[in-house]
């Protein structure tokens, strides 16, 4: 990589850490460290919410998905605006006014300590692992692309993030998120501009879209009602709404963002920022991928985008690789000519010719895909690893095709996306550890300075834990998959508990048993009907918890009455 690109990355990392340390001055109390003394303006919280959700996987994986699969992934987010609207009138004011540090703390006020402990424990388990995965995904790519070792790539991402999160607390995290979000959007827009300006002469933006559209990459909507498909209009709208309700309304890594807002209105407005911008932003991310696909129709692309795999295959199977390369070069050239012919037919305004050329282009694209699939299968056999190289398309493009300044900005933006998600997770993991366990069960009374020290140690511990998980992620592959799958068992169920909390007749026993019944139902569905998309697990989990919880609350032994403060709030809310 060019020294200018490295310099930009170094400046970015130095600035983010320096800014985080600077913000530590205002966090001398635990409320400042975890909640920024509930003082942040809505737009800071809003950008922080968006930055937390947008991880490095979005920057490299989703753009790559756009290049290979097109726009249909955007349907995953169709439920988000509705979920944000529902949250902004229900859970957000409810939780914000409860003046709690964690969402789970509220569950003790409303139900009992067991429900709080179980939900907080499930959060620590899943988020602790996912923090490792969020570091490992970009680290593995960086290691391969830059020729670094995996531990070095993990350190590049993890060490600065842990430093500013540990020392600066939530203020550092939120303000860093603002800068990181600006950098991410700027990086994406700059790449779109370069891609549009870099189209060959005679090929306009509309031609590029027509060529991409010929291969179905612009198909956004799939109106089939199929529970097995994740990316359909209905899965996104219904299953997605439940997933987003659970993620933004009950997951501490997100809830803690709106707890830092200076008023209920500010918390609400911060969520609505995502409601406005998430789908357009996701469409932009996928469009980057589609334009990169078009770019590589006219510029020779590598046979294998993962440079490490390409090198190993070339070394260990030189004859097979060379044969595939020759076949690929021929197929590439025929596809390039077919793409140019589509643009020429469009320029001539001949609709019949356009249709014919688009058909020809589809056939040539299928030819290239066959050769690529053979190369990927060979890479899989030679390396013994998953040969899928979707995540390497955009990094390869950024390194090989962009000017050094933009390469530096893009890599910094990927780092920013990774760091903003990890920082929020570390901060929230530390909050749940200290508030829901240490302060609740071990030491209820102590000076603030003591809890502040413990909080910093907890942040450091989770940072170290995430880095170790990330370093051993390849070896821990199956374990991580189990934990992730386990995570999907309880996401909807936890939402069900919070929905119960808003129903006055619900009682603690019903909530606790309902939570376990919800998770068991999702586990049963996962194993008995594995083809059902995980988006529907959230609907099933939440539904079972509310049903069982209410049934037990009405018919079962009387649970604990909500405390007077909660009863008063419920009356006020009603």
């Amino acid at each position: 990589m060019h020294p200018i690109s490295w310099a930009i990355i170094a400046v970015y990392l130095t600035y983010i850490v320096w800014d985080g340390l600077r913000r530590a001055k205002n966090t001398d109390e635990i409320e400042g460290y975890f909640l920024a003394k509930r003082s942040l303006p809505w737009w800071v919280v809003g950008l922080s919410v968006m930055a937390t959700q947008l991880s490095a996987i979005t920057m490299v994986g989703t753009t790559g998905q756009g290049a290979t699969d097109g726009m249909r992934f955007v349907q995953f987010y169709f439920g988000l605006p509705l979920a944000m609207l529902i949250l902004s009138v229900t859970l957000v004011p409810f939780l914000w006014r409860a003046k709690v540090y964690t969402a789970y703390e509220f569950l003790e006020h409303r139900f009992n300590a067991a429900t709080r402990a179980l939900t907080a424990f499930l959060f620590l388990l899943s988020r602790g692992m996912s923090a490792g995965v969020i570091i490992s995904a970009p680290a593995v790519i960086f290691a391969s692309v830059f020729g670094l070792s995996v531990p070095a790539a993990v350190a590049l991402i993890g060490v600065p993030t842990v430093l500013y999160t540990m020392i600066g607390g939530v203020q550092a995290v939120a303000w860093a998120d603002v800068k990181q979000m600006v950098l991410i959007v700027f990086g994406l827009l700059a790449i779109v501009a370069v891609l549009v300006l870099g189209l060959p002469s005679g090929v306009g933006v509309a031609d590029a879209l027509s060529i991409a559209g010929a291969t179905d990459r612009l198909r956004t909507f799939d109106f089939r009602f199929d529970l097995r498909e994740t990316y359909t209009f209905w899965s996104g709208l219904i299953g997605g709404t439940f997933l987003m309700l659970s993620y933004f309304g009950t997951d501490q890594s997100q809830v803690q963002r709106h707890f830092t807002a200076k008023s209920v209105d500010a918390a609400r407005s911060s969520l609505l920022m995502s409601a406005y911008w998430k789908i357009p932003l996701q469409a932009l991310v996928l469009m980057v991928g589609i334009l990169v696909f078009v770019y590589y129709l006219f510029t020779p692309a590598p046979l294998l985008f993962n440079p490490d795999h390409a090198a190993r295959v070339e070394q260990l199977e030189p004859a097979a690789y060379a044969a595939l390369q020759t076949e690929y070069d021929g197929a590439f050239e025929r596809r390039r000519q077919a793409a140019s012919a589509v643009a020429a037919a469009r320029a001539a305004g001949d609709a019949t010719a356009v249709d014919a050329q688009r058909g020809e282009f589809r056939a040539r694209e299928a030819e290239v895909r066959v050769v690529r699939d053979s190369a990927l299968a060979l890479a899989g056999r030679v390396t013994g690893e998953n040969p899928r190289d979707v995540n390497y398309i955009i990094p390869r493009f950024a390194l090989a095709e962009l000017p050094p300044i933009l390469t530096g900005i893009f890599i910094a933006a990927v780092l920013a996306a990774a760091m903003s998600s990890i920082a929020a997770e570390l901060n929230s993991l530390s909050t749940a550890t200290v508030i829901d366990f240490y302060k609740r069960w071990f030491r209820q009374e102590a000076p603030d300075s003591h809890f502040l020290r413990v909080s910093k140690v907890a942040t450091g511990f989770w940072g170290l834990f995430a880095c170790l998980i990330a370093t051993w992620a390849v070896a821990l592959g199956s374990l991580i998959e189990v934990v992730n799958r386990f995570g999907s068992f309880f996401y909807g169920s936890i939402l069900g508990v919070f929905l119960l909390a808003m129903i006055p007749m619900a009682r603690g026993l019903g909530a606790f048993v309902g939570l376990i019944a919800g998770m068991a139902s999702v586990a049963a569905v996962t194993y008995l009907a594995p083809s059902i998309s995980f988006l529907w697990h959230n609907v099933i989990g939440a539904g079972v918890v509310v049903f069982v919880g209410l049934l037990l609350s009405i018919a079962g032994p009387a649970g604990r009455e909500p405390p007077p403060a909660v009863q008063a709030r419920q009356r006020e809310a009603a």
Binding site: L85, L209, G213, D216, Y276, R358
Partner: protein
């Protein structure tokens, strides 16, 4: 009595504001989805 009336008025004003925001969010989503649909119909297969 006055403070109760004041609270009701405040609550109504908040509801109106939320309805306006909800309408705005929905309009933006519909426009975005229509733009994506237009792109699919115009440039798709």
């Amino acid at each position: 009595m006055e403070s109760a009336a004041g609270r009701t008025e405040e609550r109504n004003a908040e509801r109106r504001r939320l309805r306006r925001i909800a309408a705005r969010v929905m309009v933006i989503q519909v426009v975005t989805l229509l733009a994506l649909l237009w792109m699919q119909m115009t440039f798709g297969r």
